[in-house]
């Protein structure tokens, strides 16, 4: 049992004691009542300050997530570090196929364990090693798309490796150029646009032709507007088409030197607005996986609480699972509350709005500091 200020009550909480109307002793709501928004308003209208609620029992699902989350977060970190090592070794020509396969094997295992959890982690970024975390995240997203397209383990592995190495050509671009905060000069810009060719060169002889193709073609666009060769439609390697989409999405939701990150929803809107550049079948599958409120989106409920989407439901894209962090007044909650909008009892709650990109950034930071021991983020 715990005391909670009325301002922090969230629908679904259960009263541990009768709530009495002040100065009358009349029971307003009995013990064990599951609170609805209407009831919370009524309690408020009597100027009651605090009530006793039952400490919610965590479902088995939640308990599993609690165990799994730190493990996966650690693996994500290790993967990024491993990619850094592998790619640095690549430069020194002491590159091993096993190292990469091992890495992708780990990622595949993680996807199998809990894809949503992994997708949540792609939103935790470190700017310093952007290139490496970008590689890992694009690999994760590509694997998820490949899974939805029906790929078997072997193919997923190929896809994962190809996605991990898609930007390897950047090793040949000077560090100053790709870290630049301002606009690139025409020369610098031309140089960066060569990274697909550089990538294919670096991988030639070491990796399969498909992996080389993905590195070479991940900036080609389905309608022929891409580079370096302006390939069109089926001329583009299929896996390259997948990685192209994953690459764009991941880049959109990341802070870059020249612009702030977009929210997952804005990234999707941008992609949909430019859909001619992508394979329509792959795009459709991607959008259905991401859903209307993609994982990582910060939203405000109609009742005022603010939380983040941590799982989507394919059948009910409007009713994802949220982790609530802020109450109606914008105060941080004592601890995050898991809210499954698809549960019948929550049907009166809905997502009122998605927060802006700058709010996303601010709130992610606040949440990360406050709940640093919970890698759901």
């Amino acid at each position: 049992m715990q005391t909670i200020r009325v301002g922090q009550l969230v629908p679904g909480m259960i009263l541990a004691q009768d709530v009495l109307i002040p100065r009358t002793g009349v029971t307003l709501l009995p013990m064990n009542t599951v609170l609805t928004m209407e009831m919370i308003r009524r309690i408020n209208s009597f100027s009651i300050d605090e009530v006793y609620i039952k400490v919610p029992e965590r479902s088995d699902k939640e308990k599993n997530e609690e165990i799994l989350a730190p493990v996966m977060a650690e693996t994500h970190e290790k993967s990024v570090a491993a990619v850094e090592r592998v790619i640095t070794n690549f430069r020194k020509d002491s590159f091993t196929q096993e190292a990469i396969d091992g890495l992708v094997g780990d990622l595949l295992e993680q996807v199998e364990m809990d894809a949503d959890l992994l997708l949540n982690l792609t939103h935790m970024k470190s700017y310093d090693n952007y290139l490496f975390s970008h590689a890992v995240n694009v690999s994760i997203i590509s694997i998820l798309i490949g899974e939805q397209l029906g790929y078997e383990k072997e193919e997923l592995n190929q896809l994962g490796v190809a996605a991990l190495l898609h930007d390897i050509g950047m090793l040949k671009i000077s560090v100053e150029t790709w870290r630049k905060t301002g606009t690139l000069t025409p020369t610098e810009y031309q140089e960066v646009r060569k990274h697909p060719e550089y990538g294919a060169e670096l991988l030639a002889g070491n990796m399969s032709s498909e992996i080389q193709a993905v590195a070479a073609q991940h900036h080609e666009r389905y309608d022929g507007s891409g580079y370096p060769r302006g390939l069109k439609g089926s001329q583009i390697n299929y896996k390259a088409r997948i990685v192209a989409l994953a690459d764009v999405y991941e880049a959109c939701i990341s802070d870059r030197p020249y612009r702030e990150r977009l929210t997952p929803q804005e990234a999707i809107k941008l992609i949909v607005a430019n859909q001619e550049g992508f394979d329509p079948q792959i795009l459709k599958v991607f959008l259905l996986t991401m859903a209307i409120y993609p994982i990582g989106t910060f939203v405000r409920l109609n009742t005022g609480e603010i939380g983040k989407v941590i799982r989507v439901s394919k059948n009910q894209p409007f009713r994802p699972i949220l982790s609530l962090y802020f109450d109606r007044q914008g105060e941080l909650l004592g601890q995050p509350i898991r809210l499954d909008l698809s549960e019948d009892v929550n049907h009166l709650l809905y997502i009122e709005e998605t927060l802006s990109a700058s709010e996303h950034k601010k709130l992610s930071e606040r949440v990360a500091t406050a709940f640093s021991n919970r890698p759901w983020g």
Binding site: T36, M37, E38, I268, L287, N302, N315, P317, F318
Partner: protein, 157 residues
């Protein structure tokens, strides 16, 4: 019969939500009164109301209109058929309209609660409501009409 102060929250909520989730403008047609049962359209969403107001609200629209609305809600991922995704979009829209209306009503001191939306398909659907007379609120949009049938009465004191 229902007082205007009860009806306006529903109409206001409908405009707001439709505008917000589909970016479509709705305008109110002429209200009329009809006798139960409510004769549906191809797509019908029924939501029960209890509390200070009791009865049912039934949203009726054609499948073509529903498809346009659903597509808009699903970020223009056009659904050619009225599939599960489109159905969930329409139910969600109806749920949000009523959720917003209930909030407005509670601000005026009337507390109601709603049942989860039930989707009924088929032009021959006929809904017999507990409340014998219902208000027909037609909303006109560029993509076809949506009719809100409100069979509600105040709880007898």
């Amino acid at each position: 019969m229902l007082k205007a102060e009860f009806i306006n929250p529903f109409i206001g909520a409908a405009y707001d939500i439709i505008k917000r989730v589909t970016e479509i403008e709705a305008t109110k047609g002429e209200l009329s009164l009809a006798n139960s049962p409510v004769r549906g359209d191809e797509v019908n969403v029924v939501i029960g109301v209890t509390g200070d107001l009791k009865g049912q609200i039934i949203f009726c629209l054609s499948e073509a209109t529903a498809l346009v609305f659903a597509s808009r809600m699903l970020m223009n991922l056009t659904t050619e058929t009225f599939n599960e995704l489109a159905k969930s979009a329409i139910c969600e829209m109806a749920n949000m309209i009523l959720g917003r209306a209930v909030t407005s009503l509670s601000e005026r001191g009337y507390f109601c609660t709603l049942t989860p939306p039930a989707l009924l398909l088929g032009k021959n659907v006929v809904v017999s409501t507990q409340v014998l007379k219902f208000l027909v609120i037609p909303l006109e949009t560029k993509y076809g009409p949506i009719t809100i049938n409100a069979a509600l009465q105040e709880k007898q004191a």
